[in-house]
Point group: C2
Chain length 417, copies 2
């Protein structure tokens, strides 16, 4: 495409590409925009080095290779701030520049937004289901090794408390938390059998009584008894990773209380998702550790967003084949809310039209500038800003919007002509 | 765990950790081991730099930080060769060394094997369903930007023909292929409307008549007509990305043949998975382009493998809580096959026992050495070797094993005591 566009000179036409999702996966009520900060940072680093040029030089003409050698995105990008909710057709990102410079960003942009938004959207449902209790990301081992810190970041954006991924701690400043594994208990074995108490004593010696002991390697009731014997009633927490978590949680709480460990927290893990988290809401759980279902988007491992050319030299364009047609023309969007803050509708309108007005509702424009002439704008929202935005977004949803069951998007998105 | 084990000196105990999957996802009949080469390479690079040490130094004692500063895995690793089939409980990887050096590799090992094996396992089913036709990986935009090349690699291992991911071409030497997008056709628009013929002419001028033209931006029949008018009957291919692919493929084949373009190939894309591929088997499809369902493991985005401590100083250990119990002791495995090559059973046996024998079946041990004293062994199997191994593995499956429907594993895995 690039070579042909450079040859026929259409490469220099001024274009707008937009990212949006045609629908929300699995009957979800809302999505969470994530990846914005990572995308802005990635665009500023997106270059072709000699090693890359050698590969594309095998099938591209010299002019195209030379153009890639000098590539640097010099256009403008606007988008929803990271952590904003989105709905079908929300114009989440708008990329403007020449065709050549914009078309090259498609895979980069979609990879980041589809990945991060899939995790954040699933994580927000878990946060909502946890109703204020602590959520730890423990999913690194269930996703690609370099995708893992990005997953941790998306989960934290959506309201998770902390992560077990130390690289995410290092790179993004997310709070880190860990617990020990069964391997540590099993390590303390001898020819006469296992020595759970020795393992617990060793962990408490190294980490203090505030640590969390994994009590389900053998027998949970015995594990809890041993844990309190070793650490005393000031033990920080016990983790249970198997079995019927509701029943075991209630039994363990009773046992801990009877042993005087009334402040010892119960940490649950083991294939938790938003439904399991919600089903445990009536039980005395203090902390949820979530792994597989978090990093795989709980049934929706990619957000399904697309990157579409919508305008060329001011002319609206759109594919007209079959049901996949999308609306041409650069777009902006506003969200309407009641005075209580509850959102009621999103209106998408032509970018060159006036912002819709309303007597009844407050009208807020969604997109903000992200990149100008190839450079990130000053004072981009931070990860903490995004985290607050998700929290505020969840509060702004109509009551129906927080339902975990399948249904319609929480608010309609309409096109104003 | 590491700090406590260093303090109580259990860190130096000789351990064996094993990777295995308790079950295959979604009633699949087999899995494909992938990630071995990437894992071996990652282990040799796995170090803690000053930036990483600064992070862990906030919660670890000086001795542990110093130990991490000098960390280098010095143990041994054996495993199934990449591309080998696996079944529930197959001991895919065996890591031996001190507790401290082995426990640190858990997340790295699982991330790589769970990701790559999930993709390869889904891809192999697509390869099998495609029955010899060309499969192109087009999934990069639906997964994390750095996971994407690893996905392409896993797909190629499993039998995909090529990838649209140029970084995978660069890094792994996989054949690259691309087609143009709707954006390229839409780019060729003016105030008087779209100019599909201009776009096609430009692409043919740049890439030659062997190129593949995307014909479904507006009307497919018109697009095909225009494509042959522009490129002539020697046109390499046409791509269809929307609509009822079976009906459209038959119509397009008839139309191409009537235009004399009898050798022009039909490339299909658009949410294809192994079931869609199989359902198109009777239609005149030449090439499948697979995206989302490939990189998300077609419903199983992680292979669900675990990394478990099974032996400490020669003592078999295992967790005994609830249903998650696994068998202690270091293990090896053999696969039994008929003289025709059809496999019938996998036998897992204690690593220090004699290899099981059989009069009736050929017996092949599965694992090979991968790392010795921290260094990769010489002449590790290559990606091409793995690709041949997958192909041979699919041929070795009993007839039932190739069914796409849910069912039992293709062969039983049994434990010999």
């Amino acid at each position: 495409m690039l070579a042909a566009a450079l040859a026929d000179e259409s490469a220099q036409r001024t274009c707008t590409f937009e990212i949006f999702a045609r629908r929300l996966p699995n009957g979800r009520r809302y999505g969470v925009v994530a990846g914005t900060e990572r995308f802005v940072e990635a665009v500023s680093r997106f270059r072709f080095g000699e090693s890359e040029l050698a590969v594309v030089g095998k099938f591209l003409d010299d002019r195209t290779v030379e153009w890639l050698r000098n590539y640097r995105f010099s256009g403008d990008v606007d988008g929803y701030p990271e952590g904003e909710l989105y709905f079908p057709n929300s114009p989440i990102l708008s990329v403007r520049g020449t065709f050549a410079e914009c078309v090259l960003l498609e895979t980069l942009a979609l990879s980041i937004f589809n990945h991060d938004s899939a995790i954040a959207s699933a994580a927000a449902r878990m946060v909502s289901a946890a109703a204020g209790r602590v959520l730890i990301d423990m999913g690194s081992r269930r996703t690609h090794e370099i995708a893992a810190p990005a997953s941790s970041r998306a989960a934290y954006l959506a309201g998770f408390t902390s992560t077990s991924n130390l690289e995410a701690v290092r790179r993004f400043g997310i709070p880190g938390t860990g617990t020990s594994a069964h391997a540590f208990v099993l390590l303390h074995s001898a020819t006469d059998g296992y020595h759970e108490a020795t393992a617990f004593r060793s962990q408490v010696a190294a980490q203090g009584v505030g640590t969390t002991l994994l009590v389900d390697t053998f027998d949970i009731a015995q594990g809890v008894k041993t844990a309190i014997e070793v650490a005393g009633p000031e033990l920080g927490g016990v983790r249970i990773d198997s079995g019927d978590l509701g029943v075991l949680t209630r039994q363990t709480r009773d046992q801990l209380d009877a042993l005087g460990a009334t402040k010892t927290k119960i940490v649950l893990s083991g294939d938790l998702d938003e439904y399991a988290i919600a089903s445990l809401r009536a039980d005395p759980v203090d902390v949820y550790g979530v792994g597989t279902r978090l990093v795989t988007g709980s049934g929706a491992p990619t957000a399904g967003m697309v990157y579409k050319l919508v305008e060329v030299d001011g002319i609206p364009v759109s594919k007209r084949s079959s049901h996949k047609g999308s609306r041409g023309g650069a777009k902006r969007a506003v969200r309407l809310a009641r005075s209580t803050g509850t959102i009621v509708e999103e209106i998408i309108f032509p970018a060159n039209a006036a912002v819709p007005e309303s007597d009844e509702f407050t009208v807020s424009e969604l997109a903000i500038p992200l990149i100008r002439s190839g450079d990130p704008v000053d004072s981009l929202p931070t990860l903490q800003d995004g985290r607050q935005r998700v929290a505020a977004g969840l509060l702004s949803l109509p009551w129906e919007g927080l339902k975990l069951s399948e249904g319609e998007p929480a608010i309609p998105t309409t096109f104003a002509e």
